[in-house]
Subunit: 263 residues, 2 copies
Amino acid sequence: MPEPLYRQIAEHLRTRIDRGELRPGEQLPSEADLEEEFGVSRNTVRLAVAALANEGLIESRAGRGTFVRERRTITVLQSTEPQGIPLGPKDVFKSALEREGVVPEQDNFRMEFRRATPEVAARLQIEEGEPVVVRRMDRFVDGERWSQQESFYPKDIAEGTELMSPEDIPRGTVRVLAENGYVQTGFRDEINCRMPTREEAAFLGSPPGAPVLEIFRVAYSGERPIRLTITVYAGDSTQVAYEIGDVSARGESGRGSRDRETG
Amino acid sequence: MPEPLYRQIAEHLRTRIDRGELRPGEQLPSEADLEEEFGVSRNTVRLAVAALANEGLIESRAGRGTFVRERRTITVLQSTEPQGIPLGPKDVFKSALEREGVVPEQDNFRMEFRRATPEVAARLQIEEGEPVVVRRMDRFVDGERWSQQESFYPKDIAEGTELMSPEDIPRGTVRVLAENGYVQTGFRDEINCRMPTREEAAFLGSPPGAPVLEIFRVAYSGERPIRLTITVYAGDSTQVAYEIGDVSARGESGRGSRDRETG
DNA sequence: AAGTGGTCTAGACCACGGG
DNA sequence: CCGTGGTCTAGACCACTTC
């Protein structure tokens, strides 16, 4: 049994992309062209194209054509200070982005009350269904949707503090928590890689075949968890980094081409 | 324009899975059944099924049927000691796995000489094309393929040391490097989330719709990078974690259900 | 108007897996 | 053997984009 036709066609196109004959942003031959070139039916062509789309290599736009995807990657350098405020007066996202010349935008800030889902309850060490304060926002880079973030606070910690305000807090919630007696002493990050839910795909504008990168950060103040932050990034345009110990040697010499650094 | 038929069908099946009417491991109705249930052609049914498969929700096996995917997640707790040897005499993978009762297996150990690709050269701060020593292995958990790992050493560092041996080094290469004057003083981890290459999918047995999680760890010894380790995990069954500072409060109370911890 | 991809039908033959 | 999904054909109509 030979390789199925649609995979042969996919392989052929993949090779042309890998070799650089089809560069990022360039248009692939139309489905009609491919039918003729390979002498197959349109459905077979579409199977081949779908396979590449699911690998994240290409992207079809109705009425326009099919194009090789271009991706830049943004590196998010995570804080590795137990206190979580290593980068100056603003929050990590803003200050580090500005340092690197990327235009940061936050939008759709919202404050909500919810009941803890099992996922949230387990990480905050509270009971499922207990009230929590949620502060959420969307983030954009160069006008494109990039990440969604939600922070969960146990109600007793947020109550009576600035955390209840329905506005963004420019100086950062780590500071607000500290001012209220909850000095952050450490955190745990859990990083997942998965396909987006429909809602996430809709927000991020992910084509089929684009995964998301999800980070759970639980911040602790000595004896208890004080905050859970869940961030969902467009996976294939984001990289997260951690630096531990002495990495002073880094960055002196040639590093990956078009990467941008972010915090 | 209403929602396309195949998406309506996908949505219907998704709901049945979310509600628990179709549990992990259970078989979906056959394509013939779905044709009849929704009064559509087989191709339309297949579009719906393909959509769910690409979200990683279900998996089809030829001749058998289509099933709801079951996934356990293994948490890899990354070392956060600059020296990189926090967990005892064995390497991180083994000791932590044993601690948690997961059966670890390493296989297909190989040592190779190669020339640095641009990716490797940039991170090791050497020139593209310079010779590097590569030590690679595959890892299995409970008999299932789980990750692929390659470590790259500049040739001048590896030369004349145990790193050139074509055998696994049970006490860990961090120790070997230290014994040869390259004490690790820090590292940088870069974490990516993407769709697998065909080779990776073949090795990991990933169905369409399963992303991979890729970690680049560059270890430094004061003035220079001494090792680059690239690990590729089956993304949707792996979580990586970092703990910084005091997280002693963690783990005392209910944590995520069926997770297993690993390091 | 012409070209693109998106959706859908109604067939067909095949390989694989399990009784 | 029969039921499953895998591959493939040859049509059709549609919406959207570009000119």
